[in-house]
């Protein structure tokens, strides 16, 4: 598997480390349903069989956090972008 880092270009997946599901939003600790919301945030995952959005760190490269859209059935990667919105804008 190769991943095309937006900064470094195409790299072997071994240079990167996988964190997991992207787009998880940390709940409001003062919310009324905080207990349940934090349980879901920490433990519950969609785990789709198909295209998923996930966070990878280019640990042995530029050290950017990136969001990779990858098909869990085929390992095919359809898109890669910076995780940080600030970097995403800059890259455009």
């Amino acid at each position: 598997m190769r991943i095309k880092c937006p900064y470094c270009g195409e790299r072997d997946s071994q240079e990167l480390s996988f964190l997991g599901q992207a787009d998880l939003v940390r709940p409001d600790p003062d919310g009324t349903d905080a207990q349940q919301a934090f349980h879901d945030y920490v433990h519950i995952r969609p785990n789709p069989a198909g295209v998923n959005r996930e966070l990878w760190l280019h640990a042995h490269g530029c050290r950017s956090w990136i969001i990779v859209e990858r098909n869990t059935l085929t390992h095919a990667i359809s898109s890669v972008e910076y995780a940080s919105p600030r970097f995403r804008e800059k890259a455009q």
Partner: protein, 416 residues
Amino acid sequence: MKYSIFSLIHQAFRQQQDWKPAWREPEPKREYDIIIIGGGGHGLATAYYLAKEHGLRNIAVVEKGYIGGGSVGRNTTIVRSNYQEPGNIPFYEWSLKLWEGLEQDFNYNAMMSQRGVLNLYHSDSQRDEYARRGNAMMMHGVKADLLDRDGVRALVPFLDFENGRFPIQGGLLQKRGGTARHDAVAWGFARGADSRGVDILQNTEVKQIRVENGRTIGVETNRGFIAAKKIGLAAAGNTTRVAETAGLRLPIESYVLQAFVTEAIKPLIPCVVTFGGGHFYISQSDKGGLVFGASLDGYTSYAARGNLPGVEDTIEEAMAIMPGISRVRLLRHWGGIMDMSMDGSPIIDKTHIDGLYLNCGWCYGGFKATPGSGWCFAHLIATNETHPNAKALRLDRFATGHVIDESGTGAQPNLH
């Protein structure tokens, strides 16, 4: 037909022509009392114990492929109960006790071999950790032996004891651990269940679990709707895919794990050996092939095949303890899908849907759990009560904070 020395002799005189298929290929009935989804080790064991221990007969095991085609036929066959967490030890020890009587119980040769499982340690702190694990085991009545370097040398002299980075200082040995022939385990349970009236429906994929007014009413399959009031889900790596058809969201992610087998060589490795510097385990099959594996490929996957970094990593670990096997050729390698739970421990529990029971989260360790899991899951389905040995394996432990995290890595399934 009961298998015995007499049936063997009898068949020998008939050119082996009279053997009957070990299970039937029935047409699905319209309705069963209980449907088990998934004809892996756990599903088949559950059906077997439901029939044998609870006297229930009107049961179907629904399998989308062929039985034994999932992880039950893909694992590295290691059986042990050397766990450390109080919630896990009684369960895995009960499972090991069942293994010890399994072949007589289901009248099938599963080639259970209690050749011992040896976990190597490579540093003082790791020795202390293993001593602690051994003590935890012994407090639950499970024997463990802490070996020093000479003790390990006597057992497996061919290891690289002086490895510069991972010198071998000793090991923790569970003598009652060992290996079993994995697909024979599936076949033995299948035959035992079938002969007691359980229908094993192969090539039958559950497309949806149907729920009405908070109760299960049956499953939609590629062969039509099959009704059942009780449904046990034992679909291992595909758990979340099936569960989401009933609206369940689970603390599980699916990953691929690879396994390897080499060409056959003369008897070399007398027990299961695991490497403490990483995560690598190896044993030798009765045919002579070396069977081994290491960690997950580090990302979620439903592809039952791995990638090359996983291969490289595994081989590197092998070379760190057994450079002597570097010229042995690999015959085959393959992958299986793991249902990795958020704390690395399994779940046997009811769900918020009446009649829907859950058996999942087995991670890399579900083969050894097969009989114990089937036993406890059957108990839960038949009586609606949690079996005492599985009382910690609850679904709500993630909400209550009673997680069972053997490796202490937190809610990061690829690290368990």
